[in-house]
Symmetry: C2
Subunit: 402 residues, 2 copies
């Protein structure tokens, strides 16, 4: 691999992300929207700057993963655990409804809609798959938007983040189920239970043990003399816990979020947060640009019949995806928060939907036009949530946030 | 590639680097020495944590390159260009003598020493190669030591850094010559001249143009609103210029150093330096750990005859390498500085020597025991310079620095 050429790609990604992020802010939108557009522009269907295959693509992928891991770490650092527990039941209700409803919508739509040509041999498998792609919320997109808007400290933000993290756990369960279905395996209740237990167990053990150990450990580290030892130790802790979560069969971002929660209880919390931010600011744009880069612009051209079929299915999926998640905002009638804000905050599917769609295509369960439709759904839900959230917060009645 | 496993490797590298860096400081040595030892411990001949091949190794390589690029960028930022010009002639003299002497020593040693068994078919080619491995100074190691010791602002540091950067330019010329020789090509004066002109030309054009353009450009960037735009723009500028230097046929680090020099003339210099440091502190340990990881501990076991032959050749090369570079400290009789400090500062060969040795082995010019000897020479010169510099600075007469 040519290191110089790769560095040029990296520099281009960073510059484009900041330029279009700035443009987005100037027209009153969150910066992350600009970074996604930068990805579309630099992606394979436009300029082709972001590498699509080979070692360079793997490298970008790892740097993007570092970006989302550091983002979730930062979010964990900023999360007040007691506040989180207070909104816990509401977040759980929002998450569960926000997974069950869209899944049911997607499954029933594909199972009973009239099919001109089937996307796969087995309609039920495809329907399960399409339902699955509608479930998981992209915590990265929403958290970044809330952070860009300076609204991380609202009750709505806490419920959205909490529900999105729970969604990731549920998403992992669905992912394991769906991967099994795609491989032709029978649904195993034990397998489902195991995935769920691992993800929840990891979070609980990490936070409980970490809250005891971390303050003592970081008091020791703080007495060390080498430069930036606190920062390097914190980041090693975050990517280490992310790795352990991954190796335990859960998601990297769950470990990173847990690491942030744990370190928010240390005495060195302020220094850590202050120093982690600039490091995260280098990596997170790479993540959002690479999400944008996976969008295929050819799917938007209505001149071809294939694109028209795709657009039709996509329209239906988008509607179901939005309605299913917004309805989830009303899932916790006992709690006080602005339900429409939470509902809209759960809409973006982002990277998780893309992962599901990719598995479906590679295993042959999803045909080309259905795959395109799922991609469009992911794209549109991801792109509409930031301006919608921004508009909703702008119209927020004074003092209604908490 | 398994991202989780790679993250675990990365976390281990960072933790080991800081732990052994701390240990080094506690026993009165610069932290970088501990990071090199951490690399040896994690490397293929000991624990084998640092990946030696495949995509993961390439990834570590790119992250390490990012580390050395950010290190040179930071050094460029801290370099006072007027001071640099003032020491320019002295640095040039030190650099040239420090390349010519060791090259001549190495060439003559291998050409006329008695050979029990030749390491290659062509003695002259091998001799040129061994001379070449003795030439280039590792600016990374020395700069890091000077920075760890808080001595970047001394006349000696400026001469060492200046001479080491010139060495890198000369090293590139030698590298292109040596690569040609290894491939069986005839020496081309035009080819040599071209490499030299590209490297020097790149530095001059980048700095002259950059000094005009950069202050205006960064005044504009400073008025942008997106978070950390100055930091991200600076780092994109550094890796972009490094990439351009690489694509122009020069070294990445020359571009990164030029980028630092250019940005040291902007009004946002303080903010940039303040924010770049934490980011660099994550990547530079990866570079030093990966340099340490390429050391093969089996070469140090005197029980085997092959290792004894290697150790004998290595002893001679180490002596020549040290004498040749220390003598270079006396190359500028008109300038006032502590010659022994500059001479010792030029001793470490680090990554550049490793690159030469690697090319020699892969092209079959260097036999196994000679290759091992060159590795040992690189290792020893790299490991002895930090404590020697530290001891010299401790004995510095008051006010002799500037």
């Amino acid at each position: 691999m040519n290191v110089a050429r790769f560095f040029l790609v990296l520099a281009t990604i960073l510059v484009a992300a900041k330029l279009l992020g700035e443009l987005a802010e100037r027209i009153g939108q969150p910066a992350v929207l600009g970074e996604l557009v930068a990805g579309v522009v630099l992606g394979g269907s436009a300029l082709g700057v972001v590498p699509a295959g080979g070692t360079e693509a793997e490298l970008i992928h790892v740097l993007a993963e570092l970006g989302v891991v550091l983002l979730l770490f930062e979010i964990g650092l900023e999360t007040d655990l007691r506040e989180m527990f207070r909104v816990g039941p509401a977040a759980l209700a929002v998450a569960v409804v926000g997974v069950v409803l869209p899944f049911a919508f997607g499954y029933l739509f594909w199972r009973y809609a009239p099919h001109a040509q089937s996307g796969s041999d087995d309609l039920v498998t495809a329907a399960i798959f399409i339902g699955a792609t509608l479930t998981a919320t992209s915590v990265g997109i929403t958290a970044r938007v809330l952070s860009d808007l300076g609204r991380m400290n609202t009750a709505e933000a806490r419920i959205i983040i909490g529900a999105a993290v729970i969604d990731d756990v549920l998403g992992l369960v669905i992912l394991s189920v769906v991967t099994g279905v795609a491989a032709g395996a029978a649904l195993s209740f034990l397998g489902i239970l195991r995935t769920l237990v691992v993800a929840v167990g990891f979070l609980v053990v990490a936070v409980v043990v970490g809250r005891f150990v971390a303050p003592r450990l970081f008091d020791v580290i703080d007495r060390m003399r080498v430069r930036y030892v606190l920062l390097v130790a914190s980041i090693a802790f975050a990517i280490g816990l992310a790795a352990l979560a991954g190796l335990a069969g859960s998601a990297l971002i769950i470990g990173a979020f847990a690491a942030g929660l744990v370190l928010s209880g240390t005495n060195q919390f302020d220094t850590i947060e202050h120093e982690v931010r600039p490091v995260a600011s280098i990596f997170t744009p790479i993540f959002f640009v690479s999400v944008g880069a996976s969008v295929d612009l050819a799917l938007l051209n209505p001149a071809t019949p294939a694109a028209r079929a795709t657009l039709l299915i996509a329209g239906a999926l988008i509607l179901l995806a939005i309605v299913g998640k917004i309805a989830a905002g009303w899932a916790a009638p006992w709690a006080r928060f602005r339900r429409i804000v939470v509902g809209v905050g759960m809409v973006p599917r982002g990277e998780v939907g893309l992962i599901f769609a990719d598995i479906g295509r590679r295993s042959g369960v999803l045909g080309d036009e259905v795959f395109g439709a799922v991609l469009l759904m992911v794209m549109v839900t991801t792109f509409i949530a930031p301006p919608a959230l921004k508009a909703l917060f702008a119209r927020e009645p004074p003092g209604a946030g908490t």
